[in-house]
């Protein structure tokens, strides 16, 4: 079989992160080569490199044996590479037909040939066996229908290489079946397919070959026949050095936070758990499983429909983050650049941002000496590497930015700290330091809820692990229940909906 695609030693570095560390990958005509790995393992970056969205720093991409140098997505499309991105990316106010043929409209003279546009689009969509009116606006379709339109759009480009990033994540069972039929047809006509999925049962059903990414490296790659789901999971999870997770476990103390039957329509369903002092509770699950939504409800960013929250034994209904702050609950959000920090302000300004609500004043003015010494003490305590507290946060590395985001939360001395993806996009050294900080905080009596997609982190740092799936808390695994390797597999199994029933 002809080799459609070959990637050799591809590197991609972002500030503070080495996202791809010398990846090699190949795809033959008619083959389905699955790409699996945890969130943040580098799958999406690899797809972006392939689609011409970002340029690799090093390495080579060969398309049918010829070296490809792309300056944008248009070049990749012309080279026959189609990408179905995980995030739905239709223009909601354009019609389905206009979306499918965007940038490649059939023309008659200077005008769009409206009839041909509609006919072509209809024929394409009918190939899926679903009735979607191509003159409807894309924004009025259900997520599943939008996903099918995305797929139709990619296929209409006559691609020979098609990358699908989690294509079934918003499809119904029937739509998934249709998709698999379309995939079979494409493969029969020689199209090579890169299939990214968390659903291992799908992967083993479809794939000829499976490659596993971990921390930007290729952890393993083999024919699907030679692999088992268990083997793939253990490749995804990997073995990590102990020093990365400096945790001294102690018996948790009194109950700080008690959540009972928390529900928010379409997002959370009957979530119950308790968080104690001296305890780190890990929250695992796929993106969109309800983890971040839980955090948002707990600090009053989103309302909830049902359920009760009590803090240190007294009932509490958070209406705003300020409410939560008054009761000692602080969230350090997942996207530090957009949600967690004032990027253009100094370390001092960030550190005191929340604390100013509680004091740090001299009459009507900010107590400047006190705010500087407060910021200075956090810089020292958390080991933020900077010249002074007047450095703008923008100039710091990812790990140091994250420490400042945590400092902002710690400055108000919370009893309960919610960390959403505390080490995402942070290098290994800073990661270990942040873990050390978490360990110290727990030792001082704080209760920490740690949402993380980094499974080794969840296993290494948590007293117990809550697993979320489809808005439900589906499992709670206490630490030390089985060896770390098997516990990791059980968490992964619970989060992905079980390999056993494939």
């Amino acid at each position: 079989m002809t080799l459609l695609l070959e990637m050799k030693n591809v590197h991609k570095r972002y500030p503070g992160v080495h996202a791809l560390k010398g990846i090699s990958y190949s795809l033959r005509a008619g083959e389905l080569h699955a790409l699996v790995g945890e969130n943040g393992a580098g799958k999406s970056t690899l797809v972006k490199v392939l689609g011409g969205v970002v340029a690799p720093d090093e390495g080579e991409i060969l398309i049918r044996g010829e070296s490809a140098r792309w300056s944008g997505p248009g070049d990749a499309i012309r080279a026959g590479v189609g990408i179905i991105h995980q995030e739905l990316s239709l223009a909601p106010h354009l019609t389905v037909a206009e979306n499918i043929y965007l940038g490649r409209e059939p023309k008659r003279g200077p005008f769009i040939d409206g009839r041909k546009l509609a006919d072509d689009a209809t024929r394409l969509v009918e190939g899926f066996g679903v009735g979607i009116d191509v003159k409807r606006r894309a924004g009025t379709l259900s997520p599943g229908e939008q996903q099918l339109v995305e797929i139709a759009k990619a296929i209409s480009q006559n691609v020979s290489i098609l990358a699908m990033d989690e294509p079934t994540s918003s499809l119904s069972a029937r739509e998934t079946e249709q998709l698999f039929r379309v995939i079979a047809g494409l493969r029969a006509s020689g199209t090579g397919i890169i299939y990214i999925s968390h659903h291992l049962e799908e992967v083993f059903l479809l794939a000829d070959r499976i490659s596993v990414l971990r921390d930007g490296e290729m952890a393993g790659s083999a024919d699907a026949k030679e692999l088992t789901p268990e083997r793939v999971v253990s490749l995804m999870v990997g073995r990590q050095i102990e020093a990365l997770y400096p945790r001294t476990f102690r018996d948790p103390g009194a109950v700080l936070l008690d959540v009972r039957g928390l529900s928010r329509r379409g997002v959370l369903e009957g979530v119950s758990f308790t968080l104690r002092s001296d305890e780190i509770l890990g929250v695992a699950g796929l993106v969109g499983s309800g983890r971040t939504e839980l955090a948002r409800c707990l600090v009053g960013l989103d309302p909830f429909d049902e359920g009760e929250i009590s803090v240190e034994g007294t009932p509490f209904t958070p209406r705003s983050p300020g409410d939560a702050l008054d009761r000692g609950i602080v969230l350090v959000p997942e996207d530090r650049k957009r949600q967690g920090l004032f990027l253009n302000r100094t370390i001092r300004d960030n550190t005191i941002a929340m604390r100013l609500l509680q004091g740090l004043r001299k009459g009507p003015f900010v107590d400047r000496p006190a705010s500087e010494s407060l910021a200075g003490s956090f810089v020292q305590r958390l080991g933020v590497r900077c010249r002074s507290v007047f450095d703008s946060v923008f100039s710091l590395s990812g790990g140091n930015q994250q420490k400042v985001a945590i400092a902002k939360g710690l400055a108000v001395s919370p009893k309960i700290l919610i960390l959403d993806e505390p080490t995402r996009g942070v290098d290994v050294g800073a990661k270990a330091e942040i873990h050390q900080i978490m360990n110290d905080l727990a030792a001082q009596g704080m209760g920490i809820l740690m949402i993380s997609s980094d499974l080794p982190e969840v296993l290494g740092m948590s007293d117990a692990v809550l697993v979320f799936r489809d808005g439900r808390c589906v499992a709670r695994f206490p630490r030390g229940e089985g060896a770390q390797g098997t516990l990791g597999e059980r968490v992964m199994t619970a989060a992905t909906g079980g390999i056993a029933n494939a």
Binding site: S89, A91, H93, L102, D302
Partner: protein, 326 residues
Amino acid sequence: MPEKTQSFLATLRDKGWGSVLLLFAVVGLLAAFHPGVLDRQNMANVLAQSAIVGVCAVGMTFVLLSGGIDLSVGSVLALAGAVGAWTCKELGLPVPLAWAVAVLTGTLCGLASGSLVAFGRVPPFMATLAMLAAARGGTLLLTQGYPVSGLPPAFYTPGWASVGPFPVSGLVFFGLALAAWVLLQRTPFGTHLRAFGDNPETARLAGLSAPRLTLSVYAISGSLAGLAGVLMVGRLWSAQPNVGMGLELDVIAAVVLGGASLFGGVGGVGGTVAGVLIMGFLDNGLRLLAISSYVQQSVKGLVFIGAVLLDLAFKGYYRKGRGRDA
């Protein structure tokens, strides 16, 4: 998350009929107080007076669709009119050529702000605010603050003449609106522009060129402001250096009343025409009712903020507990 069943109002707005209904409502209300509003002569007056705002509004529709804004139309209109009149009077350029120079002046202004937005990554608000100041300064410099008058009468024709009952300027407005409708609805450029304003990342991934689209919309807006400048010179029988101050508010209000979103991707020429006529009838009706011009200004401000609030409400801006990045 999209809802399957849209509310009646949302459907109306989606199809662009909301602004047409609003137009009838406004005209009906004004006519109830002062039947003279419906006189044929008065209607022709409204059309003639709306034409200048209208021509600019057609250009502004493109800009808003792309997700940008053009604050410079009033100043560019003045500069283009002055340059056209000056070349005709001082350099003795033939009238049609002088018109072309005026339009071209607008095009160049548009390309300048467009380049700042497309290549300098300057926010459209800043780039066109700078152009607002620069073009006004240029006008004052060229005219030394005095009106340019005494041009060949042919120069003024488009601004005041009529064909039968129809003012020429009104016909120019309708003609341009029709051409713009074809461009937006029937050509790839129009589809690309709407896609770009709707979801820039999707447009980029589809291989569309963002700088090209950005440059085009500001060039179109500038050119039409230039053309409006010619109409304005004809209406006033001179190129006035201070003409068109605050015009951008009328223009943007008209387009937003016509259903365009300030966030890009939504809007159309049909709605814009209705929006322009709403503003025109309001102006005219309030004057017929002998309401002080100070109050008129305030009413316009209220109408504008009302249109923006409606736009936000339709976008679901005030719905409690929006999901992330909704």
